[in-house]
């Protein structure tokens, strides 16, 4: 018997299973393709990102030299001394130098002022790639005279034209060209600090090289032979490190650019991954309903002698093939989207991205889509094994409950493991993987719990006093074949992603703009020399502006921490002191009291002025101290522009950095730094844009070296930067929302035959077409409302948590935009629901009754 049976099963084989899968799909192809469309967008998003990732890696390699513009760059935050200069003069076959700093510039024609990054350039840099300008040759010719290249956004902002003039410090430069791209600079970095190039030989004459201002000097070297560069670098590396000079090679730039991109890419891939998971949940839901409709046919097959495995395999083949087709279409769309992504990401990435097809990414996407739809499709398919042939005789035959089904539990475990492994491939470590997967799991669980509770609540507190149409609409939420949980999870998650994004952006903007309230400072003037201080203060009074703060600033760097210098700290890996603790320039003030944005968290502030001979007790910002591994009582030796000052850490402060005023990592007591070279910062408040422009013009013209930041500019820059980042994230989150809507379309379509039978019965019993439409509209409106509402509530909770723990701010959700999201999603759900159900009401009853599901 058993041998016979095996022989028989062998004879039918895979060919018959494929034939049956093919035959059965003929009448359901549109429906099956609709299910599979749920994965299409997820795969499209991932293939686009995989392709982008592959392209960018190639592009970084291909354009590595143009990223840096030279073979070697050495950076310093002060002008080189004679030994350093001698050393620099021995390097490279060609040399260029650059000095960059923040400064105000003045557009003579429009009388506009703006804080920019001035780059004084000498030599023929860049050696690889170009300063891309309009006109094209301006990138080279501007060096020939008193000319400048001005960033294109600035040109637009001040309506400037080539040939106009700008004032940089005490000199006037003719605009030789519009700068569109410089080596290694992304659109985002130019938004924050728009660049203006001037020839290096005019730097001194601008009068901006004042002591105390922050300058960065870069020396670019071109080598004919790479090995010479490597040898020379190896020889001078100890000297560079000893003198706190930074250096970069093509290789190191390649790595750092790759790392930056990896972060962006990883984040976006995770959003794409969420879209794919949403789609897969959609597949599982749709197939579950589909299989429920297939129960009679499966029972007939079983009755005719098909084995459990055979019937199961027929549908598994269908789902796998359709998963493959879905993934194929997704890969195609993803490849098309990849042509668009470079345009969307152009501001975030410093390299020119090519759009060649990445076959490996396509293969990866197709494989992933097929496997995931196979796994998620398998979940509802497992129930096939429990279908009894007895159903051919009796419709109501009890099936095994899911929780008793070990195969289902095992499959869920496999899916979970697969998701964890996929996430791990995107993440850097297991910790991040755990956080992401747990977050995802908690979100799914929360959405599911909310959906179950809401469904239960509708049932429990059913509004029986309402009229029939409302009751029927409500009842559809919990009746058999309802899509409540599936739709709330998918649409809810999409809504949650979009609104969390919006709320976070809003939170950041509000946090900055909050400080612009009445009587709050909104303008900072810095780089004021000691000799200019009184004159600038007078100018402030002449404009009837209040003076909130007058802060002296001294630049210095840390020489030793607890007797350990940079070299020793590098040797002693156990100390944990990061190397950047020694190299960086610190801007320090001196005073004997706390400001409104500070709170003492440990130790005591030196309340009295320093007495000669006594120890110097400094106060440190708590987080900074933690990063450089410093505790109360530790000794720090500062190098104040050549003079060494030993100090002891006396206290820690907590600082609110978001307020528009000066904040410091290190505060000295009064009486120590008064005679050190210093500059000043004044903080004031301008009442209007007009007053701001007039005041800025006067300051720039009288004190060209003084730079000004006004809150309006910060807000504008922040808005632009967030806007650019948010657009990219929104683009990816859009995949999630659209996937949610596709799942909605598929779910509505798959249950329409069920609804059709009910509609026919209702019509037979005398329901009008209008009443049927109203019932359908109400059902989908409730669904949309529940889904959008749940998503929004969760996003508000997420934003409150983000505000509390990440941004340390209070948060009150903006009501109007959230209401707009709520109604748009609800309405969209109704429109899709109604559109898909349109045939139901219009179909003649007999046609429906004869139609096979």
């Amino acid at each position: 018997m058993s041998t016979d049976q095996l022989l028989l099963r062998k004879k039918t084989g895979i060919r018959w299973l494929i034939t049956m899968a093919w035959r059965d799909s003929r009448r359901n192809r549109f429906r099956l393709l609709l299910f599979m469309s749920s994965v299409v967008l997820g795969i499209a998003a991932l293939v686009a990102l995989f392709s982008l990732d592959a392209r960018v890696r190639d592009d970084i390699n291909n354009q590595a030299k143009t990223l840096l513009g030279a073979d070697l760059v050495i950076d310093s935050n002060q002008a080189p001394d004679s030994t350093e200069q001698r050393l620099l003069d021995t390097l490279g076959n060609q040399r260029s130098q650059e000095c960059r700093f923040s400064s105000m510039i003045y557009f003579n024609r429009s009388s506009g002022t703006r804080l920019v990054q001035v780059l004084a350039l000498g030599g023929n840099f860049p050696y690889y790639g170009n300063l891309e300008t309009i006109p094209e040759d301006a990138g080279t010719t501007f060096r020939e005279g008193q000319q400048a290249l001005v960033d294109h956004t600035l040109m637009l902002q001040f309506d400037a034209k080539v040939g106009d003039s700008i004032q940089v410090g005490e000199l006037t430069f003719t605009i030789a060209g519009v700068l569109t791209k410089a080596p290694g600079r992304s659109g985002l970095s130019t938004t924050i600090a728009p660049p203006v190039y001037i020839p290096y030989r005019y730097l001194q004459q601008t009068g901006l090289l004042q002591k105390g201002s922050r300058f960065t000097y870069s020396y670019y070297f071109q080598y004919d032979d790479q090995r010479t560069m490597e040898d020379q670098l190896a020889a001078i590396r100890p000297v560079l490190e000893n003198k706190g000079l930074g250096y970069e090679t093509v290789e190191s730039r390649k790595k750092s650019t790759g790392r930056q991109f990896e972060d962006v890419s990883r984040f976006l891939t995770l959003i794409g991954f969420i879209a794919l998971l949403l789609g897969c949940i959609g597949i599982a839901g749709s197939i579950s309903v589909y299989i429920r409709g297939k129960v009679p046919a499966i029972a007939i097959l079983r009755c005719l002698g098909a084995g459990t495995t055979q019937t199961f395999l027929i549908f598994l083949i269908q789902i796998t093939v359709l998963g493959f087709i879905g993934a194929l279409i997704g890969a195609l769309l993803g490849t098309l989207a990849q042509q668009v992504l470079p345009f969307i990401l152009k501001d975030v990435l410093p390299v020119q991205i090519s759009t060649d097809v990445s076959w490996s990414s396509i293969a990866k996407g197709i494989g992933l889509g097929t496997v995931l739809s196979f796994l998620f499709g398998l979940l509802p398919l497992l129930s096939i094994r429990g279908i009894s042939p007895l159903i051919t005789l009796r419709v109501s035959v009890e099936q095994k409950p899911v929780w008793r089904n070990y195969a289902q539990v095992l499959l869920l475990a496999v899916i979970f493991l697969f998701v964890v492994l996929l996430t791990r491939m995107q993440m850097q470590n297991w910790m991040e993987t755990t956080i992401f997967v747990s977050g995802l799991l908690v979100t799914f669980l929360l959405l599911t719990i909310v959906a179950v509770l809401l469904r239960g609540a509708v049932r429990r507190f059913f509004p029986s006093s309402l009229n029939y149409i409302w009751r029927q609409g409500f009842a559809n939420l919990y009746r058999p074949d309802n899509q409540t949980i599936l739709l709330i999870v998918t649409i809810g998650l999409g809504t949650m992603l979009i609104s969390t994004l919006y709320l976070t952006q809003d939170l950041l903007m509000k946090r900055v703009s909050m400080s612009s309230g009445e009587n709050q400072p909104n303008m900072v003037l810095f780089d004021i020399q000691s000799v200019q201080k009184d004159a600038v203060t007078r100018l402030v009074s002449q404009h009837h502006l209040p003076l909130y703060q007058d802060v002296p600033i001294v630049t210095m760097r840390i020489e030793e921490i607890n007797g350990m210098n940079a070299a020793a700290a590098k040797e002693d890996t156990l100390s944990g002191i990061p190397s950047w603790a020694f190299g960086g320039e610190l801007r320090v003030t001196y005073r004997d009291s706390l400001t409104g944005t500070e709170k003492l968290t440990a130790g005591e502030l030196a309340a009295k002025a320093y007495q000669p001979g006594a120890a110097v007790y400094i106060s440190m910002e708590e987080r900074y101290a933690r990063h450089i591994r410093v505790s109360i009582g530790d000794s720090i030796l500062f190098n104040v522009q050549g003079t060494l000052i030993p100090t002891i850490v006396g206290s820690f402060r907590e600082v609110d950095w978001a307020k528009v005023q000066t904040n410091f990592r290190v505060v000295f007591p009064a009486g120590v730094l008064e005679d050190a070279p210093q500059f000043h910062v004044l903080v004031t408040r301008v009442p209007s844009d007009k007053a701001s422009a007039a005041f800025q013009r006067e300051v720039v013209s009288a004190f060209p070296n003084v730079s000004i930041i006004d809150l309006g500019l910060i807000l504008k820059v922040l808005d632009e930067v967030l806007g650019k980042i948010a657009f990219v994230i929104r683009f990816m989150s859009g995949f999630c929302i659209v996937t949610g809507l596709i799942v909605l379309i598929a779910s509505v379509y798959v249950s329409r035959f069920q609804r059709m039978r009910e509609a026919v019965l209702l019509r037979t019993l005398g329901a009008s077409r209008k009443q049927l439409y109203a019932i359908t509209a109400l059902e989908y409106f409730f669904l949309g409302m529940l889904a959008a509402g749940t998503g929004i509530v969760l996003s508000v909770i997420a934003s409150i948590l983000l505000a509390k723990y990440s941004f340390d701010a209070s948060f009150s959700p903006p009501l109007v935009p959230l209401l707009v999201v709520f109604f748009v999603i609800s309405l969209l759900t109704v429109i899709i629901g109604m559109f898909n159900s349109r045939g139901i009401v219009n179909t003649p009853p007999l046609e429906v009754l004869r139609k096979e599901v």
């Binding site: 018997m1 058993s2 016979d4 049976q5 028989l8 062998k10 004879k11 039918t12 084989g13 018959w16 034939t19 049956m20 035959r23 059965d24 799909s25 003929r26 009448r27 359901n28 009679p296 046919a297 007939i300 097959l301 079983r302 009755c303 005719l304 002698g305 098909a306 084995g307 459990t308 495995t309 055979q310 009894s388 042939p389 007895l390 051919t392 005789l393 009796r394 004869r850 139609k851 096979e852 599901v853």
Partner: protein, 233 residues
């Protein structure tokens, strides 16, 4: 004649909440090969349950069922599926055709399950025999009730089963079509020598068989021969 079906002390119970519901009590009978038997009784008497058990669609709670000298009650579901495919044919009140397959494919499925190839001509011939030679490529939804039942008969006889179970085969059909279907059924029974077990409410159909088993409340209340040596129309 040989016994093809031997039902011994069969009971069937279902658990309904905390209550145990017994629908068949200690049923025993046997059926000779080639005979035509009707099982009759009012609704809820256990007719369909008995048919399901005899055809290996369900398991007994107690007792034994031997089909063609093979015990049915100790077989797994897949083993019973094998027996059904090899030896048993079915006709249902609501036809039970697979809606996504054409008439021809519906008839081919049982043969395909046996691993047979080149069966298309045989299936077409069966459909021609039941008068549907011109509707082979129609889907069930495109056929009338009578036509669907004829496809179902062609399918049932496609594997030359030893026994055919018919559950209310004329229950969904008008009188004229019912007569045609029964005539077709008996004709095929005569030609192939297939044992027929018919569950029916139709007294006239029951009278046309050779033996009537009457059920009531899960018990056999009568088991009588109709004195027909062969089924009568």
């Amino acid at each position: 004649m040989d016994t093809i079906l031997d039902v011994r002390s069969v009971s069937k119970s279902y658990q309904s909440g905390n209550k145990k519901l017994t629908v068949l009590h200690d049923i025993s009978f046997s059926v000779e090969a080639g005979s035509v038997v009707a099982i009759v009784g009012p609704s809820g008497s256990g007719k369909t349950t008995l048919l399901g058990l005899c055809a290996g669609l369900d398991r007994v709670s107690s007792g034994t069922i031997e089909f063609n000298k093979m015990r049915m009650d100790d077989k797994s579901e897949d083993e019973r599926a094998f027996i059904r495919n090899r030896y048993i044919g079915f006709i249902f009140q609501n036809f039970q055709l697979i809606p996504t397959l054409t008439a021809l494919e519906n008839v081919m499925v049982p043969m395909e399950l046996q691993g047979e190839r080149h069966i298309r001509a045989q299936a077409v011939s069966l459909l021609e025999k039941v008068g549907l030679g011109d509707r082979v490529h129609h889907y069930p939804a495109q056929l009338s009730g009578g036509e669907q039942q004829r496809v179902s008969i062609a399918r049932a006889f496609s594997t030359s089963p030893k026994i055919l179970f018919a559950d209310e085969p004329t229950g969904n059909l008008d009188d004229e079509t019912s007569a045609k279907i029964v005539s077709l059924l008996y004709e095929l029974n005569r030609e192939a020598g297939t044992t027929l077990i018919i569950v029916t409410h139709d007294a006239e159909l029951a009278e046309s068989t050779q033996r009537i088993i009457r059920l009531k409340g899960g018990h056999i209340i009568a088991d009588e021969q109709t004195h027909h040596s062969k089924p009568q129309l």
